[in-house]
């Protein structure tokens, strides 16, 4: 997701880069495009308006830093504003209370609440070593309780039984007691989906909240939501004084403007992204990273973090160090990545996070699918280590040997080489600027250490 928005903005901003100065004219042209892109991305109209106004005011009003060219200055402003709208940093869950710490879920029908409960249970159990209990106060939707029961068993959370003929408030009361006797650290309370205009149902969840006194009340919102995200988020926040937001189904191709809207309208932090149907598909939300991603700079930081957690730590660190030092990304690195890919949610997820990937021609992106990992890795395995480190030596006869060795055809070998080249180019683009971190920092605050040429393409 966000791909199209970042493509659009990248394009627009590229247009302004290199212009002599920011004028009313070229800024408003770029702003018109930004407005279009944000609306296409389903960002709520009032939020779009605010955003455009602020960027415009700052772009025209401020003295442009002499060390930046106008395009860079504009990028910087847009980036800073995006970060500002989405919130400054990831807010972790606040579980600092006498156990059990209670987390209450709220949201529209089908948003992803029950699934998110399972994901959070797993997250708290695995990463924070918490003992987690879950309970469903959804007495309306058929099989809602069974759904949570199944998921609880899957993630190893303690399931507190409830049934459709009970009152949600009674369920809640008994659950708190049971969680206490079980010495649970955290109690996650799932609720039925409800419309913000359903007064009875909103009153019900308000009562639940008053009874439970949760440390966190999380609003789960579907990443595909349109303009309604603003109304709904406001209504839920008014009724429940939310503590945070989970953006579910962010793994699709929705441009996800809802993230911006909900954050801007409620002022409450987006704490997690739902990135799939499985219970491990929960990612912390980093607004600064997402803003960078929107601007086409990739999400290298979270990629590295994820790699550290899920795959061979040493290799990941080696790669991170190499990238930071601006060393070449060779075929060995590429092979390591292919091997690790399966653990990391597949190629799509990786591609999405690498800087500049959204600028690849769509064809090039589509060529790379999960099914090809093994084949590609086998091809690289059939090379000598010299070839892997210096791919340029691979000539026609070497290609034939590699193809034979891997049971493939020469065009397959060529494709691997080409894909590696593309990856390498992306990596270079980043490292040329003196390391990803510097670049990110440079964009967020100070000037790019690599000088004004740093940002221009």
């Amino acid at each position: 997701m966000f791909d199209s928005l970042s493509e659009r903005l990248t394009q627009t901003l590229r247009g302004i880069t290199g212009k002599a100065r920011l004028t009313e004219e070229n800024v408003s042209a770029a702003l018109r495009d930004v407005r279009m892109a944000l609306l296409e991305a389903d960002v709520a109209l009032p939020v779009v308006k605010d955003f455009i106004d602020t960027v415009k005011r700052r772009a025209l009003g401020s003295v442009v830093d002499l060390s930046l060219n106008p395009g860079e200055a504009f990028v910087k402003i847009v980036h800073e504003e995006l970060v500002r709208v989405m919130g400054e940093a990831n807010d972790a869950l606040d579980l600092n209370t006498k156990p059990p710490a209670i987390i209450l879920m709220a949201g529209l029908q089908g948003a992803g609440k029950t699934t998110t409960v399972a994901k959070l249970a797993r997250f708290l159990k695995e990463r924070h070593k918490k003992k987690v209990a879950v309970v469903s106060a959804d007495v309306y939707r058929p099989a809602a309780i069974t759904q949570l029961q199944t998921l609880a068993a899957e993630v190893g959370a303690y399931f507190i039984a409830s049934s459709g003929d009970q009152q949600p408030l009674d369920i809640a009361r008994r659950a708190v007691k049971e969680a206490g006797t079980q010495f649970a650290d955290v109690l996650l309370v799932d609720t039925a989906g409800r419309l913000a205009i359903d007064a009875d149902m909103m009153a019900e969840i308000q009562l639940l909240q008053a009874e439970l006194e949760p440390v966190e009340t999380l609003f789960v919102v579907d990443a595909m939501t349109g303009q309604d995200a603003a109304n709904t988020a406001k209504a839920f926040n008014d009724a429940l004084n939310l503590t945070g937001v989970v953006l579910a189904k962010a793994d699709g191709d929705a441009r996800g403007g809802a993230a911006l809207s909900v954050r801007a309208i409620t002022g409450k932090p987006i704490k997690f992204l739902g990135m799939g149907e499985k219970t491990d598909a929960l990612e912390p939300f980093y607004p600064d990273r997402l803003a960078s991603r929107i601007l086409g700079m990739g999400d290298v930081l979270s990629l590295i973090e994820e790699a550290e957690r899920k795959v061979d730590k040493q290799k990941a660190q080696k790669l991170a160090r190499k990238l930071q030092k601006g060393k070449r990304f060779d075929l060995e690195d590429f092979r390591d990545q292919l091997h690790q890919m399966a653990n990391m949610g597949g190629m799509g997820s990786l591609m999405e996070k690498l800087p500049g990937m959204n600028q690849l021609p769509p064809g090039a992106q589509a060529q790379v699918d999960d099914g090809m990992f093994t084949k590609m890795a086998v091809i690289i395995d059939s090379m000598t280590s010299h070839e892997r480190r210096f791919p340029d030596v691979i000539n026609g006869s070497r290609k034939q040997r590699i193809a034979r060795g891997s049971g493939t055809q020469v065009p397959d070998v060529n494709r691997v080489l080409k894909q590696h080249k593309q990856m390498q180019k992306m990596m270079k683009k980043v490292t040329r600027k003196g390391g990803m971190q510097k670049m990110m920092r440079g964009l967020q605050g100070m000037r790019t250490p690599g000088g004004p040429s740093g940002m221009s393409r």
Partner: protein, 316 residues
């Protein structure tokens, strides 16, 4: 489900439709407030307000600009001279846009069993719509059977079985983790041998960008076609009224994978505005058979363009 939720309470359908669309309407009305005050000259502010109102209902930037361009042209040519005329022209334009999407849902006697696939993204309302559709078809005197083709999501089978019980219709299921295509295949066979009129197959929710999951849908279709080349007779894509511009990609991708024959628009009882329907009408024309206006078994109604647009534009 409680009784009040089940029946949705208060009033007949039309009242409920306008009550439920009331939010859309007041949203639009707020935007076109100037228009509704009576005859007034059309200036840029009026046009801007109208554009805002359309955007706020998820009509989308492209379609909004097209509508605005059309109206502005007529304003310049002095075909529309005041806000009342502008209001009328907008209503007509919107009706013309969605009119081609109206199509009654029919089950021809020649096709037995008549096979319906219910597809869509996660949480759109597929399973619930199956429950409602089963009721609707039974009321027309048709016998119905359900296939628990969502073998992925936790308790999806139990959820469909609950709807089967409510409707007193059989549910063919194999349980979580089974092969979806084989469940649906078995169900079509069972429906054939038992002389059932309509078989409705549930499928797991999937995001349209996931090519492997879309391929799985195509496979279910291929497998069923081994039994009956004309099946599925309808592939219904369920769209959440709250969805924004992503709806267009949903229609396109599900259509490419399975050949969507019609849409069901759910959750129109909320504040969601479903203006994306107009973009769908312009770009990826598919009939809208039904709208969902609640979680109860009777909360499924045929889509009616006139009342949809009227409710959207009506005076308070």
């Amino acid at each position: 489900m409680s009784d009040t939720k089940e029946n949705g309470g208060k009033g007949g359908f039309w009242k409920r439709l306008s009550a439920s669309l009331g939010k859309t309407r007041s949203q639009l009305a707020a935007g076109v407030g100037n228009l509704l005050l009576g005859e007034k000259e059309i200036d840029q502010e009026v046009l801007d307000d109208l554009e805002t109102a359309l955007l706020l209902t998820d009509v989308g930037i492209d379609t909004t600009q097209e509508i605005m361009a059309d109206l502005s042209r007529r304003v310049r040519r002095k075909e529309l001279n005041d806000t009342v005329a502008l209001h009328g022209a907008l209503g007509l334009l919107l009706k013309e846009l969605v009119d081609p999407l109206v199509k009654p849902f029919e089950v021809p006697a020649a096709d037995r069993p008549f096979v319906i696939f219910m597809v869509g993204v996660n949480g759109a309302g597929k399973t619930t719509s199956i429950g409602k559709l089963a009721r609707y078809l039974k009321q027309q005197g048709l016998s119905v059977m359900l296939a628990a083709g969502d073998t992925f999501r936790a308790a999806a089978v139990e959820q469909l079985q609950a709807w089967g019980e409510r409707n007193d219709v059989a549910v063919v299921a194999q349980g979580q983790g089974a092969d979806s295509a084989s469940v649906v295949y078995d169900a079509v066979q069972a429906a054939e041998s038992r002389g059932i009129d309509v078989l409705i197959a549930d499928t797991a929710g999937r995001l349209q960008a996931k090519t492997n999951l879309m391929e799985e849908l195509a496979k279910i279709k291929r497998v069923v076609q081994r039994l009956n080349a004309r099946a599925p007779h309808e592939v219904l894509l369920v769209l959440d009224a709250g969805v924004g511009q992503n709806a267009l990609s949903q229609v396109r991708e599900f259509d490419a994978a399975t050949g969507v024959t019609g849409l069901i628009l759910t959750k129109l009882d909320g504040t969601a505005k479903a203006g994306v329907v107009f973009a769908i009408a312009r770009q990826v024309r598919k009939p809208i058979y039904f709208i969902g206006i609640g979680e109860g078994i009777d909360d499924l109604k045929p889509f009616a363009a006139e009342s949809f647009v009227d409710a959207l534009l009506a005076n308070e």
